[in-house]
Amino acid sequence: MITIDRVSMTFVGADAARTVTALDDVSLTIGQGEFVCLLGPSGCGKSTLLAHIGGMLAPTAGSVTVDGALVQAPRPNDIAYVFQESTLLPWYTVLDNFRLALKFQGIDDASWRDRAMHALSAVDMTQFADHYPKQLSGGMKQRINLARGLCVDTKVLLLDEPFAALDEQTRMVLGEDLSILLARTGKTIVFVTHSLAEAVFLADRIVVMTARPGKVKAQIPVPHPHPRSPDFMLALEFGEIRNELYAILRDEIRATVARMRETRNAGG
């Protein structure tokens, strides 16, 4: 279980104009095995919140605990992190990237190869085990990146817009695969996205955040069992939830756009 307790984050800049409050008093509880999407306009602090959960960044106030233990630094044995871009090291083959991820985690025995191949077969990429990342397309890399996050066998998986850099068709296919894959793992998952459809399709619960400073504006449950088939996207229920999300988000998106215009005018 992840408990986010009154977390605030302020990035202090050179002057008051450049000091940014990214998160303002955010509290959230995420249950064991739950799939939660953090949804919000760009710059609302959702990636910042994920970095707090992952122990990559310390909040200025409040605390994050995972299963009762305070998160103050990366905890590779409990938490895996998948970033927006592929973070496969380009100078190693796919398989060596897995070996390293397991080695960093302290798994240095003969089991690594089986685990790596198992994770690769889960995303249907075993035939690329000996390829270098630059020989793969963006979608393939992100697929493997995901498999690496699954392979390290943590209770918690954090995904920071893992499909943001991909084209729409690739991300749809990956989203479907992810739903099937994650239904099996039973991991607790926090997924950051700004895509409404992605959030509805994947999440058990969607946490909608406000424009900067980020607060929790609403929490929308998606009561539909996993794994979800592509047909779910055509269901009435899907459309209703997406429309509800859009209604909630519209004001926040407008607020973000207005703020950006203001900053530009002030700057120019």
Binding site: P76, N77, Y81, F83, T87, W91, L100, A101, K103, F104
Partner: protein
């Protein structure tokens, strides 16, 4: 298969054009020197140069000069590599150190350090030491600068990712910093190597007691043009060989 074949045919074509160009140059040399004798002092006939090369080779003069020059090159390069990589790595560790030292190193490297060669002779004497010190100083800069650039070019994203995976400081260095910085650092080592050779030979032609550069300068002073060209031919052959070796080493390290 057809793609590979087309590429190979492309390679053959490129090589034949390159060798054809050399053959044309050589033919022009032969033709000019055999159609007029008036250039003999500036441009000796190829066969005379070839005979001088054989004389230098068999008399042992080539070897006694080459040993001195090679020793200077090896010593100077070793100093430059150790100092360049150590200082480059040290500076690259901190953004502030980089902001201070990178422009300074770039600035000094922009000065033609040849101007300071007489100072090296004053400090280190006419013997090999002045050439070693001068060449080490000159080739230090590209090595240090490329080492800094190499370590600075390591993508922050990879570091964040491996930290999230629990990599220790040493593991971060071994698996991210080092391989990430390698290509740029290696090209610095290569540039430094050729600057080192050029500096040693250049220094020797300016002020030295012995060595290949000194022999070239001496032949020029004595107007022994065939011998002068013979020395130059040996240097050209050695440089081409070294360049091929360096390229092969670089390709291999890229593949590894």
């Amino acid at each position: 298969m057809p793609v590979g074949e087309a590429m190979r045919r492309d390679q053959v074509l490129i090589r034949s054009i390159q060798f054809g160009f050399l053959a044309v140059l050589f033919g022009a040399w032969w033709f000019i020197t055999h159609s007029t004798q008036s250039l003999a002092l500036l441009l000796p006939r190829p066969e005379l140069v070839w005979r001088e090369m054989q004389v230098l080779w068999s008399s042992g003069r080539l070897w006694s000069a080459a040993v001195i020059t090679l020793k200077e090159i090896v010593e100077a390069y070793a100093i430059a590599v150790v100092a360049g990589i150590a200082i480059g790595f040290f500076v690259a560790r901190s953004r502030n150190l980089m902001r201070i030292f990178e422009p300074v190193l770039t600035g000094i490297f922009a000065i033609p350090l040849t101007l300071f060669f007489p100072l090296f002779v004053v400090f280190f004497g006419i013997g090999p030491d002045s050439k070693v010190a001068y060449a080490a100083t000159y080739s230090f800069f590209p090595i240090a600068l490329n080492t800094i650039a190499g370590f600075a070019s390591v993508d922050e994203l990879y570091l964040r990712a491996v930290r999230a995976m629990g990599a220790s400081g040493l593991q971060q260095f071994r698996h991210v910093y080092l391989p990430g910085a390698m290509p740029v650092t290696l090209s610095g080592l290569r540039i430094g190597f050729f600057i080192c050779i050029a500096s040693v030979l250049g220094g020797e032609t300016l002020a030295a007691a012995a060595g290949v550069g000194k022999s070239i300068a001496l032949s020029a002073e004595l107007m022994e043009s065939a011998r002068l060209y013979a020395w130059i031919a040996f240097v050209v052959l050695a440089s081409v060989t070294l360049n091929l070796l360096a390229l092969a080493a670089e390709t291999r390290s890229e593949r590894a």
